[in-house]
């Protein structure tokens, strides 16, 4: 059988959506049990020594593998939104992501050694601790902590939704494969329509499709838009869509199980549990990607065939920049400005990520930091380009996923390519469980950072500095339960714009913290006012550009992904670049205009100690 015909044979069954088998649920259960077990192990490992340093910093004992595979910006979104982008826009997404080629060396090489040293010199357990200690300024520490909690809260709520969605697809015969936000059945019943307050003419138009089933919100809205005039649609669509939304029991069940699992094991093992589960899922992810790469390329008959097939199903845009435009309305997915931007975005979102910084602070030694550089470099090399190739093969094998369903590409491909293998369902399950692990690990690490912000940076610093270990432990647990409960409540009506929120939080945190972190690490002359200006300058710029874009200021430039939660792309550049620029200028100018910091304090952090230890020699 030729490769092309085998591809067609494989592609045939996808006309009817494949059902998730018990293998997927089994794989998720393994993940959950393994994570709880890791939590117990972490609990034992951190029990020696002080609670705060053990719970929030793993007693500074991270080794190279743990640091390498967990300290950068990979999250659930990396393995869910990204494949959908490749499937939709084609090879250009390789350029979009390729900044990751230098993420390991920049993430650890720019700030790693200095952050690790400063955190030891000051005894800092958290990033705000470090900012506070650099100038002996409680106000700066508190500001940093509030910013971190602000960005992380956004991210947390979005990630809880991802976790619930992954749980939902794992249920056998749930009928839902997608990780999409809108993958569920929509129906406006006659009873619900009768209960809506609508003008008579609108009611009559909508009644035409009462009691009719729609696969998802996108299809329902399209039908609604077709029936209503523009003004009517704008005025009434939100309440009509809300009335047609089903009560999604599987989503809520998934949300419950996800929350109990992730909050449970994080409470058990704190920072170490978060890091170790992250390491576990990273290894699983690598195994899944390599395995799926071999299966997908074999199924389609080679990479070249995959591209040729995919181009024949789409168009030339699939193999060239600025990317394939499925809507055919002139949108450029990656014009030059955004291509340049994303080479900055991935790198500086890694350098300026507070969750990444705290893991570097937890590194055991400089040897661990430098080893992490090449370990992560190899890992990224085996993950990102192979994922691009997998999704190009996906477009050739499963060419017609509609918009709103493109998130299904990895689950569908996993089921398709393992269907004929022994234990195929379980193998597919292992591949599908990987994104669940990624989301769990991300949420777990954010839980630790937010709880440390509340307990260490607010309670212990400002409310009760004399608090004992018992109190701090109890408060840490309460903080995690509280944050979990808030995230669940926020998802009773699930948030929209999931992917856009993740991007906003990551780039916002980078624009806020990257320059201040560089200044406190390397510049003696920087001051409290300068650092604060740098933080507010970066954050303010991001906020202004997002508010302008979201409120519809300026014409839609028709670049980037299609989303209503879009920023204003000044000169076609991502807002993070403007945020970094303003943060840099504000930090430097205000520092130079204000009184220099205390010379003794600066000397303590920048000069050699008189009877200091000598540099260690490099091991042979």
């Amino acid at each position: 059988m030729t490769s092309l015909s085998s591809a067609l044979v494989l592609a045939a069954p996808v006309l009817t959506p494949p059902q998730v088998g018990y293998g997927t649920l089994f794989a998720l259960v393994i993940f959950i049990v393994a994570s709880m077990y890791i939590g117990v192990l972490a609990n034992k490992a951190m029990s020696s020594g002080a609670f705060m340093k053990g719970f929030f910093l793993g007693n500074r004992g991270l080794g190279a593998w743990a640091l390498a595979l967990t300290a950068t910006v990979q999250s659930g979104g990396t393995f869910m939104g990204f494949p959908s982008l490749v499937y939709t826009h084609g090879w250009i997404v390789a350029l979009w992501i390729c900044g990751y080629m230098v993420v390991p060396i920049t993430g650890f090489g720019i700030l790693g050694k200095r952050m690790a040293q400063l955190s030891r010199k000051t005894g800092a357990l958290t990033v705000p601790d470090l900012f506070r200690a650099r100038f002996n300024s409680p106000a700066l520490g508190l500001t940093a902590s509030l910013f971190i909690m602000f960005y992380m809260s956004f991210m947390m709520v979005a990630q809880f939704k991802s976790g619930a969605l992954v749980m939902k697809i794992a249920w056998p015969a749930s009928g839902s494969l997608a990780l999409s936000e809108d993958a569920t059945q929509y129906k406006l019943t006659t009873d619900k329509l009768a209960g809506l307050e609508l003008p008579a003419e609108v009611r009559d138009k909508v009644a035409a499709f009462a009691d009719q089933d729609f696969a998802n919100e996108v299809e329902f809205k399209a039908a609604l838009k077709e029936k209503l005039a523009d003004g009517e649609f704008t005025a009434h669509q939100s309440k009509i869509v809300a009335a047609a939304s089903p009560i999604d029991w599987l989503f809520y069940l998934g949300l419950g199980i996800f929350t109990l699992t992730v909050v449970g094991y994080t409470m058990l093992g704190g920072f170490l549990a978060a890091v170790w589960t992250d390491l576990f899922q990273s290894v699983m992810m690598l195994v899944g990607v390599v395995f799926l790469l071999i299966l997908a390329v074999t199924a389609v008959g080679g990479m070249e065939t995959a591209t040729v097939e995919a181009v024949s199903k789409t168009g030339p845009g699939f193999v060239f920049g600025p990317g394939f435009d499925p809507t055919n309305d002139g949108r450029e997915y990656l014009p030059l400005g955004l291509a340049v931007s994303f080479f900055w975005v991935w790198v500086y979102a890694g350098v300026g990520s507070p969750a990444g910084m705290v893991r570097i602070m937890a590194g055991k030694s400089t040897e661990v930091i430098r080893k992490s550089i090449f370990l992560l470099s190899g890992y990224n090399y085996l993950i990102y380009l192979p994922l691009v190739v997998i999704c190009i093969c996906g477009r050739a094998l499963i060419p017609d996923l509609p918009p709103g369903k493109t998130d299904e590409i990895i689950p569908r491909l996993a089921m398709l390519t393992t269907a004929k293998l022994p234990m195929g369902s379980f193998l597919a399950g292992l591949i599908l469980a990987a994104p669940f692990g990624a989301v769990m690990a991300t949420v777990s690490s954010y839980l630790v950072v937010i709880a440390s912000g509340l307990v260490r940076d607010v309670y212990q610093r400002f409310i009760n500095p004399q608090a004992g270990s018992h109190d701090l432990r109890r408060l840490s647990y309460m903080a995690m339960i509280g944050v979990g409960a808030i995230a669940v409540l926020a998802n009773i009506k699930p948030v929209a714009y999931l992917q856009a929120i993740v991007v906003f939080s990551g780039t916002g945190a980078a624009a806020t913290f990257c320059m201040p972190a560089l200044m406190i690490a390397f510049w003696r002359r920087t001051t409290v006012a300068g650092t604060l200006s740098s933080m507010f300058g970066g954050a303010g710029t991001m906020l202004v550009l997002y508010v302008l874009g979201f409120s519809g200021y300026g014409a839609d430039r028709r670049i980037g992904s299609v989303t209503t939660f879009r920023p204003y792309f000044l000169l076609d550049l991502d807002p993070m670049l403007w945020g970094l620029l303003v943060s840099f200028l504000a930090g430097v100018i205000v520092s130079l205009l204000t009184t220099p910091p205390d010379a003794a304090l600066v000397s303590k952090l920048f000069d050699a100690e008189e009877s200091g230890s000598t540099p260690a020699t490099k091991p042979a």
């Binding site: 090879w91 040293q117 193999v319 030694s365 550089i373 380009l385 004399q466 270990s469």
Partner: protein, 101 residues
């Protein structure tokens, strides 16, 4: 009174940070212009493949990514210096908070 000497860890960290910044800049200045000049708005007829990749992806992304992996290996293995990160504050002080000065 003698001037205090700069912390050797700071000195090596700064030197390494500058080198890393230059590596990032070199990767940016090669990758994006190469892909823009060779991978945008071409005709399908002109498309060639290298090892299964479209030619511009191979030379503009795969090749520099491979170089970056090798450079990272050299940087982490040979260039970056191991240093003593210093003693940490005593546990009790750490538990009760710190002044920084």
């Amino acid at each position: 009174m003698s001037q205090p000497t700069e912390d050797p860890v700071l000195r090596s960290a700064r030197r390494e940070a500058v080198v890393v910044f230059l590596i990032w800049l070199a990767a940016l200045l090669y990758t994006v212009p190469y892909c823009y000049l060779n991978g945008y708005n071409r005709s399908v007829e002109s498309l060639k493949f290298v090892w299964g990749f479209p030619d511009w992806v191979f030379w503009g992304i795969f090749a520099p990514w491979t170089v970056c992996v090798i450079v990272s290996l050299y940087f982490g293995h040979q260039f970056m210096k191991d240093e003593d990160l210093g003693e940490e504050l005593p546990e009790q002080e750490d538990e009760l908070g710190l002044g920084g000065g």
